[in-house]
């Protein structure tokens, strides 16, 4: 049996990255993801990779751009204000069609905010974030085990689609400890051919990594290629987990830390005789619209719960498309809605 280790989410991200064959990390310290950068500084060189503490978030994301351009698996991590600084770089990575993994352990905002867990960067992560028509794939771990597992998925998707992939956690997922089982020899790092990588032009024509396309129609052509890729991702990469939705009247929708509390609320509501269930989006982009739309045909109402003032709420509404009422419960500024608040909210909806 594989050995269990007790570890924080931030450290599990590092273990996952190493298992995925990540060879480059650059980052800048920011709470609440400092365990990640410190653990990476120790572990990555041991496995033959390059670790760099950059002079800024801007430098870090552009180091990742350079690292990825050489064909190696590369990543950075930060928390909300630092991720804002990286947005230009993420747009360049998307424009140059480079794979990269970016981890955001979200904290309260706006501005310097605080260092408590938050989910207020959902819009930034899922709607592009930087300039231009692009999307990053966004994955939201709901446990320490998933911090590890989703890193393997993230690097594979990044290479497969030549796109940035964001792991969207929060300060609680990052700093909480839980048991982790690392995948052993059964996990094989998929080897993606990278004929576009900068290796020196020996035996081939010059490679150019670029996102500048001048001349009539040249940039539109690139954009159409990206859009086609995004459509494929929307069709093939929707991920979610559901809990007791088969017979339910009320569907709670929550991701990450919030989904764990929502799960507790489902059990509490069932004890009170109210049939509740939970859909937990794992991919936030592409949003798991199919399963939400399917549920909308059968249930009385949805309740979206977020550690923000309603960001994922918009995607749930779009997926439900008016087929059922969509209610909302959320708190911001680093505060977390409680199980009791969720139960009360559903009881209120049930009475109407």
């Amino acid at each position: 049996m594989a050995k269990k280790i007790l570890i924080t989410g931030n450290e599990a991200v590092v273990e996952g990255a190493l298992a995925a064959g990540c060879k480059f990390y650059a980052g800048y310290p920011i709470t609440p993801q400092n365990e990640l950068i410190a653990y990476m500084a120790q572990k990555l060189p041991e496995s033959g990779g390059v670790f760099l503490q950059a002079e800024s978030e801007l430098s870090a994301i552009n180091m990742v751009f350079g690292a990825s351009a050489t064909g190696f698996r590369a990543m950075t991590s930060s928390s909300s204000p630092g991720i804002s600084l990286k947005q230009e770089g993420i747009s360049y990575i998307a424009g140059a069609e480079l794979p990269a993994v970016i981890v955001n352990m979200m904290r309260g905002g706006p501005g310097l905010g605080n260092i408590s867990p938050s989910q207020a960067d959902y819009f930034q992560a899922t709607k592009g974030g930087g300039h231009g028509d692009y999307h990053s794939i966004v994955l939201a771990p709901g446990s320490i085990q998933e911090c590890y597992d989703l890193m393997l998925v993230a690097f594979d998707l990044a290479d497969k689609y030549r796109t940035p992939v964001i792991i969207l956690g929060d300060g609680l997922i990052g700093q909480m400890m839980e048991p982790l089982v690392r995948q052993g020899a059964e996990h094989k790092v998929k080897d993606y051919a990278k004929p576009w990588a900068l290796t020196g032009c020996k035996g081939r024509k010059q490679n150019i990594v670029r996102s500048l396309y001048l001349g009539q129609g040249a940039l539109e052509k690139v954009n159409l290629r990206l859009q086609e890729r995004y459509q494929k991702i929307i069709q093939e990469e929707q991920r979610s987990q559901s809990f007791q939705i088969e017979d339910c009247d009320f569907v709670l929708v929550a991701y990450g830390t919030m989904s764990r509390i929502a799960k507790g609320a489902v059990l509490a509501l069932r004890k009170k005789g109210i049939k509740a269930g939970l859909i937990r989006p794992v991919s936030l982009w592409p949003f798991p619209e199919k399963i939400i739309a399917e549920a909308a045909k059968k249930v009385k109402a949805f309740l979206v719960i977020e550690m923000s003032y309603g960001q994922m709420l918009e995607d749930v509404r779009l997926s439900v498309a008016g087929k059922a009422p969509v209610h909302f419960l959320g708190r911001g500024g680093g505060e977390i809605p409680s199980e009791e608040e969720i139960v009360k909210k559903i009881e209120g909806v049930n009475k109407k």
Partner: protein, 242 residues
């Protein structure tokens, strides 16, 4: 008969987008000649800047990447660390290297990355239409200093080469110019030194090249060459700084 002049393999045979009298064409050619002469074309990776020279990859025939504005040395750092056997250099203008990218420049230099940097100083922002650069001279008229640069309002011309030279990990800094055939030959010598330093694992090497921008200096190409010698070199004296 002995052949004494050829078109460098590293330079594509295409027409230029640069303005008449621009220094980029000369600098591009020197780079291409040296890459051929040092036999490193198949190992070379160039970082092209945001600015007029972003299209350097349309002229050079070896691997190239763009970098976001100012981030050339962050991109180069990662490439060289992961591919130490490749030859990696940045080619950057004054806005890119000494304004928006000052942080990346200083820290890559301070880490002593084994990179070669070609810094084209033409004292003005060319691509965006002739605005003030960090290296614009006092009194120089630009689109954003229409009465001339004033120390009190805009600060002094930034001497990034002298600043970098004080860092212990910086191994070589020289300022050269492109205003005469002799100075072009000296520029080639300096770039060669910076390239050989990387090949020999010496460390961070930096060449500042005073380069003409006749369009945004409001001068004819010949007058622009004279302006480098008579005006610009007084503020930015040539020679080996370190």
């Amino acid at each position: 008969m002995q052949k004494t002049f050829t078109h460098p393999q590293s330079l594509k045979n295409v027409s230029t987008h640069y303005c008449p009298g621009c220094g980029h064409g000369i600098a591009h050619r020197l780079v291409a000649e040296l890459i051929d002469e040092l036999g490193i074309r198949e190992k070379a990776i160039a970082i092209c800047p945001v600015g007029c020279a972003v299209l350097a990859y349309d002229y050079w025939d070896f691997d190239c990447t763009e970098a976001a504005h100012g981030r050339g040395l962050a991109v180069a750092t990662a490439i060289k660390r992961l591919r130490p056997d490749n030859f990696v250099f940045t080619y950057q203008g004054d806005g890119d290297l000494a304004a928006i990218g000052t942080n990346e420049t200083i820290h890559a230099a301070n880490r002593g990355e084994n990179l070669s940097v070609i810094f084209i100083n033409n004292a003005v922002y060319g691509m965006t239409g002739g605005q003030m650069a960090p290296t614009t001279l006092l009194g120089q008229k630009t689109a954003t200093t229409q009465k001339g640069r004033e120390a009190k309002l805009h600060g002094h011309p930034l001497k990034i080469s002298e600043m970098l030279a004080i860092l212990p990990a910086v191994k070589y800094v020289e300022r050269v110019a492109l205003h005469s055939p002799q100075s072009v030959l000296q520029t080639k010598k300096a770039i060669k030194q910076a390239f050989e330093n990387q090949i020999n694992n010496v460390g961070f090497s930096f060449v500042e090249v005073l380069s003409p921008c006749p369009t945004y200096w409001g001068l004819a190409p010949k007058e622009a060459m004279a302006w480098i010698k008579d005006v610009m070199m007084k503020e930015f004296p040539l020679g080996k700084i370190k």
